[in-house]
Chain length 346, copies 2
Amino acid sequence: MQLRKQTLKSQSKQIYDVLVVGGGAAGLSAGIYLQRYLLSTLIIDKGKARSFWMQELHNYLGLPPDTPGRDVLKQGKEHYLSLEGDYLNGYVEEVIDEGETFAVRVRIGRNNPTYEVFRSRYLIAASGIIDHLPKLNNMQNVFDYAGYNLHVCLICDGYEMRDKRAGVFGSSESSLEVAFSLGWFTPHITLFTNGAFEVTDELRERLHTNNYQLVEQPITRFLGKNHQMTGVEIADGSVVELDTGLISMGSKYHADYLKNIDLEYQSGNLVTDKMNRTSHPRIFAVGDLKVGMNQVVIAAADGALAATQIWRDIRRSEGNRHSSKATNSNSLHNQVDNPNLTKASA
Amino acid sequence: MQLRKQTLKSQSKQIYDVLVVGGGAAGLSAGIYLQRYLLSTLIIDKGKARSFWMQELHNYLGLPPDTPGRDVLKQGKEHYLSLEGDYLNGYVEEVIDEGETFAVRVRIGRNNPTYEVFRSRYLIAASGIIDHLPKLNNMQNVFDYAGYNLHVCLICDGYEMRDKRAGVFGSSESSLEVAFSLGWFTPHITLFTNGAFEVTDELRERLHTNNYQLVEQPITRFLGKNHQMTGVEIADGSVVELDTGLISMGSKYHADYLKNIDLEYQSGNLVTDKMNRTSHPRIFAVGDLKVGMNQVVIAAADGALAATQIWRDIRRSEGNRHSSKATNSNSLHNQVDNPNLTKASA
């Protein structure tokens, strides 16, 4: 159920089987699987997952290629709530490992926030990342085009940029490397530093070899209308005409709440095993936050994997959980999971 | 485009970048990603993927939980064809590794079949598995309920069976082990051997401890109507009433066409790395055929991973592929892929 400030008290006394931080594709998919495994779940979402900003998901099997990311999230949340999962809008500030449980401190509400502590046996970090965008004086001008024809993901949208005049907006020399992969799709590439960093002669030489242009002046504003960017105006007043753009400025990782827990990271991403377990036995990571590709369908699969492993863990320690309690609840304690069987039956 | 017998000749001379064996969830998702990477793709499908038989997909993020599996396949095929991928109805009989390419022999048509050889640089094995079903004299009686409330996947449908009277239909003692996992969802379990194998005293003891029933007579027929199974009639004429059932009889692996290629298997499943590459550098395996969980959303993610790795391979060796050929096609040859960059931009 959707939790409200007024109805929080009872839930905050419950120990959930799993608390999921983040209600994006990975978190919702995990929630759906967890509830179907009869595990009590609380998803805490701060709002506006990365996929929320995607105007069209072009590569998600089963959905028409013009489906907005937010439609997937809306359907997923509805699905999760229909399975009686708990969902709270809030911001997870801190997680404390208490041994058998986690204590999760949540800020609720923007104005006059209140704070509440929830407890769970397992934690799924599904809080994702958000792309850094070019810093202009008027950020609304960036928001007008980002997620439309000003893309943030080459794998998702390289196809949309084929043979078009594409701008690449970087935040460092290494971030501009993506231009050479974009070269798979289009030869018409202009790179922008926004006046924020220097470029080595070695890169200049490679750009020259590829016939790519380099613009080092600060960007004044994006031009266009109806969310279709048509070019960039730079500091000297001149205009670079473009058909599309790719922002490559790195990402902010939403993982501050894990700062007091010792976990293995690789370049900001959580390292996990095949079932998405982190280096902590009761913490899983799914979606963009973990090492791997940032794709909605992969995030959805990540959630399924983490939920299934948590179910296996809990089932091995508990035995059963149907509402009738007639049978011996320890019956599975000594059962070794047979991997062939699991495969055949799953 | 949908290939027809009459229009095959030109396609069979082309060398595809990737030939995908199987047009289920994994193969279609791979095809969508591949075409969006501007890689030429041929999907060869024999028809009736495992998910085709699923009346309701209850756990696929983004789709209402009553979506039939065949709707996902239909939408996926339409999506793939809209990206100009080639699709052929046929049965892959044999794959020969020619070094740079694979030669793939395909039988086309059921009556008076013709044979055609297609070539590709990479191969994706997405041909999946199909569940063995109880062998009754009248198989139509089994088909009437399988995929409705006679399930084949505990992970998918355990939730649907909660607190219900469930039959478990096995083909060996070890296949009956799934009953103890089903015990998580319901205590009302009856196991059926269909008179096909013996059961040890050790298992009898464990069944007794759990209050599970064991029926060792052959099954005459399933009872029910409108695809809802309500019980089983056994050889002595008596009836066991049930609300639902779980078939656990193992699977047939659709991988005969790979018999001449040396690949690493584990209990019938192909062993792959994180990007779904098998032990052969140009063969990938996705979906139910590979080691891992058999879930539609995981199959879809598998396809995305394999397609992306193949794109990386080909991009590294070729440089670019946009239709304009103005630039130096070797520009990427010496570029080392930077994993951080790939992450930030993907």
